[in-house]
């Protein structure tokens, strides 16, 4: 790179780093990721991929900026002035194709760092994948280089908007894995299907290839052709490696090990992936109030809490003694639903309700005494369990509708909720409950029979089960 090209690249870099379009896109990227992660504890394995994907926003702005900069010397009146200068268009292309990707990459790097630092305020877990972060930087660089190359080959201002429209179309057309293996969008651990190192190599090789193609507009020279050829081979090899190891990233970044780290805190065992052990105390915060409501002699038999997805095969035996949590947990108010769900499942297990993973048919707890105890236990951790609701679940070509409450595939009514609230307000309710635990936990004991045992009076009308009663 000649001294003139270096100085010109530096000049263009300074100019681009003051470009409002680039900074506006940076603001949108930061706002997007901040809003998207506001209600969730940071899970690095996901967030690094999502941030890399969000870099497309800065990339789109970079296409517009580099295209405009490239068009600068194509204006008729300017071309006249420039063509009399000793520095020709190829040098100007070198400068823009170097400065554009650097500027876009720097902006993405800065936004990513700001975003990740802000996430440190939570309880981040999972593997921080630096390759993914760098991929975000390179994705923006790729878009910047594309802006230069396309505008050199088709010098019109419309080319940048056309590229952005094509990009948006591709995202909607190909869904999560659009233009694989360029930028898959991950929203859950299972969606991450690329080995990040190879993928970074792939995107980097693409940047070099596109930059070389931009320069080849000024003539086929051995150096340019050589670089383009090597980059093309690298794109092929790294692209093949990326798509041929779809599970590699999940294995590397999510689990980091095939074994769990298990800790027994009190009477409950918690098992997390090695990089998620910081969340055990969060789970314990939701489970402990429930455990304290269970008679001490039974606490040793409570199920363990284990993180999904796991390597263990889940059979009927271990399902019954296991409560599963995922790789997501809420924060800033978003944790309420996770706390409620985990506490409810522990409460359901403690009172002996049919396990969520084993129950394949709906059943109804209305009228049963144990429903009051289950809800009371769950509410000790905070909110009452969510009621029976339908939730659509996308399963391939068909959308299946599942019905479930926080207690499992189990319905319950207002009556038991009412008495659970009364119990919660009653001092020393545990003593009455523990003293009559076996009767209260029995599916055969009705609410009417339980109320005197609990020191409560009948206050609301009884409801009849709407489905098959739970056994």
């Amino acid at each position: 790179m000649s001294r003139v090209a270096q100085q010109l690249a530096l000049f263009e870099l300074k100019l681009m780093l003051r470009n409002p379009i680039l900074w506006a896109s940076a603001g949108v990227m930061l706002a997007w990721r901040t809003v998207a992660t506001w209600s969730f504890e940071p899970a690095w394995h996901l967030e690094t991929v999502q941030t890399a994907t969000a870099a497309l926003l800065v990339g789109a702005a970079a296409v517009v900026v580099t295209s405009m900069v490239t068009m600068r010397d194509s204006r008729p009146q300017t071309a006249e002035l420039f063509s009399a200068l000793p520095t020709g268009q190829p040098v100007r292309t070198v400068a823009v194709v170097v400065a554009g990707p650097i500027a876009a990459g720097l902006v993405v790097a800065l936004v990513s760092v700001l975003h990740f630092v802000s996430l440190l305020g939570g309880t981040p877990a999972g593997r921080f994948d630096a390759y993914e972060v760098l991929t975000g930087v390179m994705v923006a660089a790729l878009m910047a280089a594309l802006g230069v190359a396309l505008t050199r080959w088709a010098p019109t201002l419309i080319i940048a908007p056309v590229l952005i429209v094509a990009l948006v179309w591709a995202i909607f057309q190909f869904g999560r894995n659009w233009l694989m293996p360029v930028v898959p969008i991950a929203s859950a651990p299972g969606d991450i299907s690329r080995p990040s190192g190879w993928h970074l190599g792939y995107v980097t090789a693409l940047v070099i290839l596109v930059a070389a193609l931009a320069l080849m507009r000024h003539g086929i020279q051995p150096a340019r052709t050589g670089i383009a050829g090597v980059a093309a081979v690298a794109v092929g090899l790294t692209g093949w490696s990326t798509v041929s190891q779809p599970e590699a990233n999940e294995r590397e970044t999510v689990k980091a090990s095939t074994t769990y780290v298990c800790q027994r805190l009190g009477t409950v065992e918690y098992c997390a992936y090695p990089l998620f052990t910081r969340w055990i105390s969060i789970w314990q915060g939701a489970v402990d109030p429930v455990v304290q409501g269970v008679p001490p002699k039974l606490r040793a038999h409570l199920p363990r809490v284990i993180q999904l997805p796991g390597e263990e095969s889940l059979t009927g035996t271990n399902l019954k003694s296991t409560i599963m949590v995922t790789l997501q947990w809420g924060r800033n108010g978003g944790e309420a639903a996770d706390r409620r769900s985990l506490a409810s499942r522990m409460a359901a297990a403690a009172i002996g309700l049919p396990g969520g993973y084993l129950a394949v048919h709906n059943c109804d707890l209305r009228g049963q005494a144990r429903s009051i105890i289950a809800i009371w236990l769950a509410m000790r951790a905070g909110e009452p369990p969510a009621r029976f609701q339908q939730s659509p679940f996308d399963e391939g070509p068909n959308t299946v509708v599942y019905q479930a409450s926080d207690l499992g595939i189990i319905d319950f009514g207002d009556e038991e909720l009412h008495y659970a609230r009364r119990l919660l307000a009653m001092p020393m309710a545990e003593r009455r409950i523990w003293a009559n635990w076996d009767r209260l936990a029995s599916p055969k004991t009705s609410i009417a029979e339980a109320l005197p045992l609990l020191g409560l009076r009948s206050e609301v009308p009884s409801e009849r089960p709407r489905e098959q009663p739970c056994r």
Partner: protein, 285 residues
């Protein structure tokens, strides 16, 4: 390196229109004015000299460097300062950024030297105080001065200025005349203009071009002499004169056939220029 520009047998055609054919010219240090009506081929000639346009035939040598040779052309561009007739400036750039940018394109890679050069050329055109202003905020005259500043970057030995005075106020024109006459002391300056008084004031040599040929090549006073005996002052207008207008004193100044009660007047460069163009037109008719 010989300080001259040589044009030998240069021809240029735009489609069916022959702009000039077999044109010859030699430019030496000093300010040379290029006069001619619109479409005479002045701007095309200047483009050929600035190496932005390749002639169809013939050779152009700038300071001994052949513009038809790629390497020599590149070297020649390092010695040329060019202000095109229509200058496209980047409105979003600041004045100093734009000059700095062109300075880099002029291969001034040392940052300190470039900063000095930017300040020097902006000082020359009295734009130093506007260096932080955006180009889009400049008046037409200021933009023209900025264009001149850009042409001066790198202290070129051959300055080609295509209508540089357009949009300049009288004070700026005077200042610019001073600058050009200073520059012309040790370099070649080719100045295209429609302002004959500028030519008379600062050019050592005048070229009058029409339809791709030079009608005149000589010092300004000689072009004025072309109109000797053809310029009149009268109380009456002339129907047969080539040009005539009522002057500030209420009398008519007529170029060509004398009107009634006419008295001869001292011809100017403008008068000579008009006579030259009309003589050529009559020949063609």
């Amino acid at each position: 390196m010989r300080l001259s520009v040589e044009v030998r047998g240069v021809s240029k055609r735009y489609g069916p229109r022959q702009v000039f054919d077999g044109l010859n010219l030699e430019l030496l240090p000093g300010v040379t004015g290029l006069l001619g009506p619109n479409g005479a081929g002045k701007s095309t000639l200047m483009r050929c000299l600035a190496s932005t346009l390749m002639p169809d035939a013939g050779r152009v040598h700038v300071l001994g460097l052949d513009l038809s040779d790629r390497e020599q052309r590149l070297q020649a561009r390092r010695t040329i300062g060019y202000l095109p007739q229509e200058l496209g400036l980047y409105p979003q750039f600041s004045v100093s950024s734009l000059v700095d940018y062109v300075a880099i394109l002029n291969e001034i890679t040392d940052r300190r030297q470039r900063r000095r050069e930017v300040e020097r050329v902006l000082e020359e055109v009295d734009l130093l105080t506007e260096r932080k202003s955006k180009v889009r905020r400049l008046s037409g005259g200021m933009k023209q001065r900025l264009g001149i500043a850009i042409a001066l970057i790198g202290n070129p030995q051959f300055l080609i200025l295509d209508e540089p005075m357009v949009g300049l106020d009288p004070e700026q024109r005077m200042r610019f005349r001073g600058l050009l006459s200073r520059l012309g002391e040790n370099r070649i300056v080719l100045l295209s203009t429609h302002q004959t008084e500028d030519v008379a004031a600062l050019c050592q040599r005048v070229l009058v071009m029409q339809a791709g040929t030079f009608l005149f090549d000589g010092p300004p006073h000689q072009i004025a002499n072309q109109a000797t005996g053809q310029v009149w002052l009268s109380a009456y207008p002339s129907a047969e004169g080539q040009a005539g207008w009522r002057a500030a004193d209420g009398r008519y100044r007529v170029v060509g056939a004398p009107p009634l009660d006419a008295e001869p007047a001292e011809p100017t460069v403008e008068d000579g220029y008009l006579v030259l163009l009309n003589a050529r037109a009559e020949k063609i008719i």
